[in-house]
Every structure is written in structure tokens, then in C-alpha cells.
């Protein structure tokens, strides 16, 4: 079983090495790839020093394109399972191991680490969203559940594990703007087994969220349009015809 853990990173020179070290400790067998999304700082150098493989995009392409690069790399290089987590230190690497276990045991094709799942244990220093974020989260949660007829609690989680079926799908289709939400919808529509697992997440190490109320509203509106359009995409069975 070959496993790839990839980390999309954009200007994360301060935290990327710590995250890599954490992953290497938790998953000594796995290969670690940092997808450097056109960083202007020393993210790529720090990652290489920490012993990770580095795939550098020549210019900033957005999270979706960076994640797709990871899936494409995993697919091309014959990995059986892959997982990704954020480079800012929000995601404890030990939790990634639990996600990967689900893939290895073939209980799901795609596993999402959920912050809000009822099983997640809250403790001090754990992740607590701001008010505007909570509104956005519940709106997306509602509409994604409506669209997929499957309950999702954490629609924007950037901690996931996947098998080769998902690699093949995501390396072909992955929205650059609404990577997390649309990819969930897509995976469910293609008949893949998507599962949520409660995980512990930490407070963002540094830097405030970029969302102001107006931007949040626009973000939500854009997300809803993306979801609506996604409902009209062909399903696998129809696409094969």
C-alpha cells in the first residue's frame, strides 16, 4: 500500500516545515508532497529542507488547482491512497492517519475530516468559527445536504483522504473556485462512497480570516450558484453513453 500525503501551501514558510515533520512522524511510510501554489516566500525551500517532495506551480492558481495537482501526482505515480491537509497547522497529522485507515479498509472512496461532526470532542484550543463563518457553514451544509441527499457537517474541510477512483475523478474535474463544496457534490453524484469522520482541529496558527460580511455574502451566493450548476452536470452513467 503506497500512500501519498500532500499539502497545498501558499506563502506558508512559517508553518510548513512543522506540518511536514508532524506528517512524517505520524505516517513514516508515506511520501509527503508539498504543492507550492506560486508562493512568493521560501515555502518551497522550507518544504525541501523538511524532506518533502515539492511540486511548484509557476503562479498562484488557487486552492482547487493546487489540490488537483496533488491528486494528479498521486494518480500518475501509482499511489493506492492519498490524503491532504492544510499547511497552516490547523490539522493535526494524527487525525489524517484515522482518515487513511478508512481508505485502507475500503470502507469509503473519499473520507472528509469534519470539525463539526457530533462525535468531535471539543477541548480548549480547538477550532471555533466566527459568526459570519457559522452562517456560511450552515447555509452550505443545508444546500449540500439537499443536493446530495447525504448529511454533511463540514463542507469546507481541507482534510481528506481518497483512493484511486477519487484520484481519477478529481484529477479530471475539480473546480478551481469552489474546490471543497463542488468536489463533494461531484463525488456523490458519481456514485462514490463519501464518508465524514469527526476530527479534532486546532485554531489557525496566525492571521485573521479574510472574510468581511459583504465578502461572506458574495462567497455564499457564489457557492450556491456553483451548487445549482453542479446539479445539472451529467452523472457517470449518462456521461458514459
Amino acid at each position: 500500500m503506497r500512500t501519498l500525503v500532500f499539502i497545498p501551501a501558499w506563502n506558508e514558510e512559517a508553518s510548513v516545515a512543522t506540518v511536514i515533520a508532524g506528517v512524517r512522524e505520524a505516517l513514516p511510510e508515506a511520501d509527503v508532497l508539498v504543492v507550492d501554489d506560486g508562493s512568493g516566500d521560501a515555502t518551497a525551500e522550507r518544504a525541501r529542507e523538511a524532506g518533502a517532495l515539492v511540486a511548484s506551480l509557476p503562479f498562484n492558481q488557487g486552492l482547487g488547482a493546487a489540490l488537483q495537482t496533488g491528486y494528479l501526482y498521486a494518480l500518475r505515480n501509482g499511489y493506492d491512497a492519498c490524503a491532504h491537509l492544510d499547511a497552516d497547522g490547523q490539522h493535526p497529522p494524527e487525525e489524517v492517519v484515522r482518515l487513511l485507515d478508512e481508505i485502507v479498509a475500503d470502507r469509503a472512496d473519499l473520507v472528509i475530516g469534519s470539525r463539526y461532526h457530533s462525535g468531535a470532542v471539543a477541548s480548549s484550543g480547538d477550532y471555533r468559527p466566527t459568526f459570519s463563518r457559522r452562517i456560511g457553514i450552515s447555509v452550505f451544509r443545508f444546500f449540500l445536504t439537499l443536493a446530495t441527499r447525504q448529511r454533511f457537517t463540514d463542507t469546507t474541510s481541507g482534510m481528506r483522504a481518497a483512493n484511486r477512483r477519487v484520484m481519477a475523478l478529481f484529477s479530471q474535474h475539480y473546480s478551481p473556485d469552489f474546490a471543497e463544496i463542488e468536489s463533494l457534490q461531484l463525488a456523490v453524484r458519481q456514485g462514490l462512497r463519501v464518508e465524514e469522520l469527526p476530527v479534532r482541529m486546532l485554531e489557525r496558527a496566525g492571521g485573521a480570516s479574510f472574510l468581511t460580511p459583504v465578502r461572506s455574502a458574495f462567497f455564499i451566493f457564489k457557492g450556491l450558484v456553483v451548487l445549482l450548476v453542479g446539479q445539472f452536470r451529467p452523472r457517470q452513467a449518462e456521461a458514459e453513453r
Binding site: 511540486a55 511548484s56 492558481q61 495537482t69 478551481p176
Partner: protein
């Protein structure tokens, strides 16, 4: 009130294009088509994107040369004023062109992204080449390629 407005509209005579407008339009159309030819000649515009502009120029010329065509269209649209019909048609045409460009732009954005990803992956792969081999021989790669197609 509505009946009154309708009556007033009916009393208005139909507005036609003046000869002056027609001459100006014809000159602009010819100038426009020459500009496109020149852009193609100097490799500033690819032929495949010029066809639609050429058609637009020809349409403009046709409208100027045969105003009857335009009036026929105006009648079909239920517009009394030929100038208004002309504007609406041009507006619709521009809308279509703008949409067409958005489609082309989206495709090119996707192509650029994929190109960047391929380069990044190739670079990361070269990074692995220095390390002990992972059993990624050519046979393994061929098997992967066929699997990629199957999936």
C-alpha cells in the same frame, strides 16, 4: 391612457435610415474589414477568431447597401424605428460575442492550469529521481497509463 399612447404611436411615421447614415455605416464596415485583414496579416489575430468579425463586417455592409433588409428585420421584430432595430441587433450580436469570448477564456484558463500542474509534477518527479528508485519502471508506468484511461 394606454390606448392614447398606442394611438400616438400609430400616428408616428415609420423612421427610416437616411442616406447619410448608410454611407457612414458602409465606410465604417469597409474600414473595419480592412483592419481585420491587416491584423491577420501581421499575426496579431488568429484566423479562427477572425471569422466571426468578418461576418459582422459583412452584415454591416449589407445593412448599409440594402436598407430594405434592415426594415424587413425591424418589421419582424415589431419595431417602428429602423435605427432602434439596428441598435438592438448590434447589441445582441455583441452580447453573443462577449459570451463566446468567456467560453474561449474559460477553456484557455483550464489549459493554462493544466500546463502549470504538469510542469509542477514533472519537477517533483525529477526530485524523486535522485532518491532510491520506487519501482517506477517503464512497465509500471505503462500499466498506470492504461489504468488512467480505464478510470
Amino acid at each position: 391612457m394606454r390606448a392614447l399612447a398606442l394611438a400616438a404611436a400609430q400616428a408616428e411615421p415609420q423612421v427610416h435610415l437616411t442616406s447619410q447614415t448608410r454611407i457612414v455605416a458602409a465606410v465604417i464596415a469597409i474600414f473595419f474589414m480592412l483592419l481585420i485583414l491587416d491584423l491577420i496579416r501581421r499575426d496579431r489575430l488568429q484566423e479562427r477568431y477572425s471569422v466571426i468579425w468578418f461576418v459582422a463586417g459583412l452584415g454591416m455592409l449589407a445593412g448599409a447597401a440594402f436598407p430594405g433588409l434592415l426594415e424587413l428585420l425591424a418589421d419582424a421584430m415589431g419595431v417602428r424605428n429602423t435605427n432602434v432595430a439596428l441598435f438592438s441587433i448590434v447589441l445582441l450580436l455583441l452580447l453573443g460575442l462577449a459570451l463566446n469570448f468567456s467560453v474561449i477564456m474559460s477553456r484557455q484558463a483550464a489549459q493554462i492550469t493544466r500546463l502549470a500542474q504538469e510542469r509542477a509534477i514533472e519537477q517533483a518527479r525529477r526530485g524523486t529521481a535522485d532518491r532510491p528508485a520506487n519501482g517506477n519502471g517503464s512497465a509500471a508506468e505503462q500499466a498506470l497509463e492504461s489504468e488512467e484511461k480505464r478510470l
